[in-house]
Symmetry: C2
Subunit: 352 residues, 2 copies
């Protein structure tokens, strides 16, 4: 598969990517290489990685606990202390090996350590491959507020190797699929149709296409002034729902994709009501999503908490929630204000 | 006094600066304005500031506790939570009003909040005026390691108003003077001579000249590849000494300037031994510094702890400490490796 040029760095695919990494480390003469991972990727991904990564540099492994609950500043402090104690300096390289928690947190840790060291991302979940490989977003959560603290910072390289997906669960694959559906709905109807028609999908092609789309979007609008906002489709309400389930101790957490899938159904419904997005397409989206994700029954008594969380969405200005909605497939409208009543109605539509 | 153009932003001086700030807030249509300060600047500087700052925007004051000991990530978390609870969004502006702890920490807080909001610095101490007004360094300490976590990020504007200096102690003025001496030794001998000859100095002129020098240096070398390293003169050993006194509970802390002054005497001595920097100039520097700062007797039994802290200096590569030393006044050499024995000897020279 073809290398993707993402502005200042490249996304390399599959086996040949490791050679590029070894060259990068050689060419930059790093003083040491730190690998950030969690207990899962240490067990399932690190052996493959290390057998492919040829270097004579000192390698230090830093393990953090897996899970969104650990994507916070306290974990960052732990990693910063570990790098410090292991003698990390400005010429150190940090390689992240894991899902979105590891790549997002690792990019942030690297960008702030001694005012910035280089980092390389190796996403090992479908979600982090299709969502976090390009775009330069790094960060951690503040309490239940997702990615509230972070930066735009680009890695030196990204390696996407779909072999790692053999180590993740079916549920995680579905979580990543939600982002692919999003790219399809907002940018490439063919891609959506492929998923809808449930052909025997070649996952590595879907990944490549998704990264290409995100890269096109991000290169056109790196700072999220306009086009890039399509990447938030389904995410405005979806993030609030995800945060709500994360902070509700008596409820099982949703994966990011499960929450975003709900968000896409709801925001399609808002699009229909506000912008005349065709009703049959709303139903089509709902049907495709419910064929993949078990319906989560959103309780009416929880709606007010979810609305409260919406108020902290990063895209809000002056307390106004800003949605990106669809006029049609591949045709979006940014900065839509949605009446609270309609937001509630959209969740009921999802429940029906 | 003339406005200084510092790359993407301006440093405005004295009374007229507040008009520029009001215009900035108006032109950018910020959703709200947060003022970060500590109990001292709330009492002594905020009244002047607020009486000069004309805006119709909502203003929220966030107070943190003063002192280097609070320049850490925990304080950042508190400020991020406060901004969140007060409804801060991506179009909020953060104004810092205080010394280096406030401006460094505030710039970091702003740069990481929702991946970056605008900030304006209003330094209120001599040290922060001459050191932190330009250069874009933001950050906080990690344990006793100074500025270990941070970023390069530029404010939208800096206001330097020497009226605020009437609110600070003589000891703080001396702390800032150390940085002015540094600019003199490395870049402008006339400036050093002004201080040496102890003329009745017009402080606002010294500030303006210092900022001009730092600005020239930073614009030529923003990422500290070469010339900018002169700004570290006295700081390599100085930071280690400062950290050591900060972590020693039974010793009184040194101000930044007091520590850097010691560092400059020691590093002048290293320059003499390694690069042939003239002995009479070493003595001249020592004399000037001891005429301003009471000598701190560095105990031999503390030397090993100080050496240990040196190993975490941000400029180190591969465990090697990198000093910037002087061939002569205004003539520097970067990346000097200094034998441990000579570092110890230099502290003894200071003690003599």
């Amino acid at each position: 598969m073809k290398t993707i040029q993402a502005g200042t760095y490249n996304v390399h695919f599959q086996q040949k990517a490791y050679k590029f990494l070894s060259n990068l480390v050689e060419d930059n003469n790093y003083s040491s290489v730190f690998i950030l991972l969690d207990e899962n990727t240490l067990e399932h991904c690190y052996p493959k990685f290390i057998s492919n990564f040829a270097t004579e540099k000192r390698i230090e492994v830093i393990e953090i606990e897996s899970g969104e609950i650990n994507k916070n500043i306290d974990t960052c402090i732990g990693v910063w202390n570990a790098i410090t104690e292991l003698g990390g300096d400005r010429k150190s390289l940090l390689i992240t090996l894991g899902g979105g928690v590891i790549t997002d947190l690792g990019g942030f840790v690297a960008s702030c350590f001694k005012r910035g060291i280089d980092f390389v991302n190796i996403p090992t979940t479908l979600l982090s491959m299709v969502d976090a490989s390009v775009g330069g977003k790094t960060g951690v959560d503040l309490g239940v507020l997702k990615n509230q603290i972070g930066l735009f910072a680009n890695p030196k390289m990204v390696i996407v190797d779909s072999d790692y997906l053999t180590t993740v669960t079916e549920r995680e694959i579905k979580s990543g699929t939600a982002e692919i559906i999003k790219y399809g709905l907002t940018y490439d109807t063919d891609l959506f149709n492929e998923i809808k028609n449930n052909k025997k999908l070649e996952i590595s092609n879907l990944i490549q296409r998704s990264i290409e789309i995100k890269n096109e979007v991000v290169l056109q609008d790196p700072k999220e002034q306009n086009l890039r906002k399509i990447l938030n489709f389904g995410h405005t309400l979806g993030h609030a729902i995800e945060s709500f389930y994360l902070e509700s101790e008596d409820k099982e957490n949703l994966t990011h994709g499960e929450a975003i899938a709900i968000g896409m159904v709801c925001e399609s419904f808002m699009s229909y009501k506000l912008l005349g997005f065709p009703a049959e397409k709303v139903n089509e989206i709902k049907e495709v999503i419910l064929s993949i994700y078990k319906r989560t029954h959103l309780l009416k008594e929880d709606f007010s908490d979810i609305m409260e969380l919406l108020k902290h969405d990063k895209k809000n200005i002056n307390g106004q929630v800003n949605f990106v909605l669809l006029n049609d497939y591949e045709d979006y409208k940014i900065d839509c204000k949605v009446p609270e009543k309609l937001i509630l109605e959209s969740m009921e539509f999802y429940n029906e």
